[in-house]
Symmetry: C2
Subunit: 153 residues, 2 copies
DNA sequence: CGAACACTGTTGAAGGTTCAACTATTCCGG
DNA sequence: CCGGAATAGTTGAACCTTCAACAGTGTTCG
């Protein structure tokens, strides 16, 4: 049993700034996506990943991994997106257990509209508020975190 | 109507690293708090703020602001914490509209236990994974974001 | 004073997420 | 090629958050 290594005061300040700031930031972005385009950030993320995939198609499991969602959550969310006509699903020909989700034309059009406003919000509340060098630091740091989290699963 | 200013490729990489990384990081921490102490991070945050307040008491509105939660959400969450015996509420003597939430001894004890593990996770997945200078950059950046978000409300 | 307004916090319903259980398919060792 | 283990995705219930409406209290100003 080793002693708990508490955070130093500056570490604690930085950590809290991150927790508070990210919650508020993601809240604002979610809010604005939802009111102007009826999409949550989670849904938006799904549309983005599909739009970038070859044929706009992805296996559910891969989509879940890329969007940092559980499979269950993705199932529910896809069901909603499907009922809005933005996404459709078909069984995977090569592996009949699998399912391919793909973006409809309407989904693509919705994404295109939403992305303009979204990117503007991201600038307004994030990119343009942060120093260029600090932005790079954030990129480095969170890539390291992603590696760390993924390696422990 | 001005043209949409898209992100540059590096900006987009950094932004995505942040979104993915923070979601995964907060997920892991939430997970570990929940399985080992039965608390969500939102609940934990509430206990922390109360523990630091004078007399371990805070007005609901202030608590909501400090924990970055909506008042409604806080009401529900406090109700849950209250039924677990960790928090209690009383009407504010100076303003009868108001309510003071306060930490019970049991709440304090629970927080104390949980904080050891939590701080260890924060180190494991965040502080110790990120360069010291990048950590400072994160602190600066997210404080700027907090100011930005709060100024638009 | 008292009427209109603003503010505090709660409530219930609707919507979204998590959790555990389940079906169906594929993989693998014997 | 068979039986068991592993994998893919879905489902429904429990849980949590959001949303809009509300009750109660304070504040302002004619």
């Amino acid at each position: 049993m080793s002693e708990t290594r508490w955070l130093t005061a500056p570490q604690q300040r930085d950590w809290r700034a991150f927790v508070d700031g990210s919650v508020r930031l993601l809240d604002v972005l979610d809010q604005s996506l939802k009111t102007t385009h009826g999409l949550s950030m989670a849904e938006y993320e799904i549309l983005v990943r599909l739009s970038e995939a070859p044929d706009r198609k992805l296996r559910m499991a891969q989509l879940a991994a890329e969007a940092s969602q559980s499979r269950s959550r993705l199932s529910h969310t896809c069901a909603r997106l499907e009922s809005k006509g933005l996404v459709r699903r078909e069984t995977c020909p090569s592996d009949k257990r699998g399912v391919l989700a793909y973006l409809t034309d309407e989904g693509f059009a919705t994404l295109e509209r939403a992305s303009h406003d979204h990117v503007t919000s991201v600038r307004d509340y994030f990119v343009d508020v942060v120093d260029a060098t600090d932005l790079e630091a954030i990129g480095r740091a969170f890539n390291a975190i992603i590696r760390r989290v993924d390696s422990s699963r």
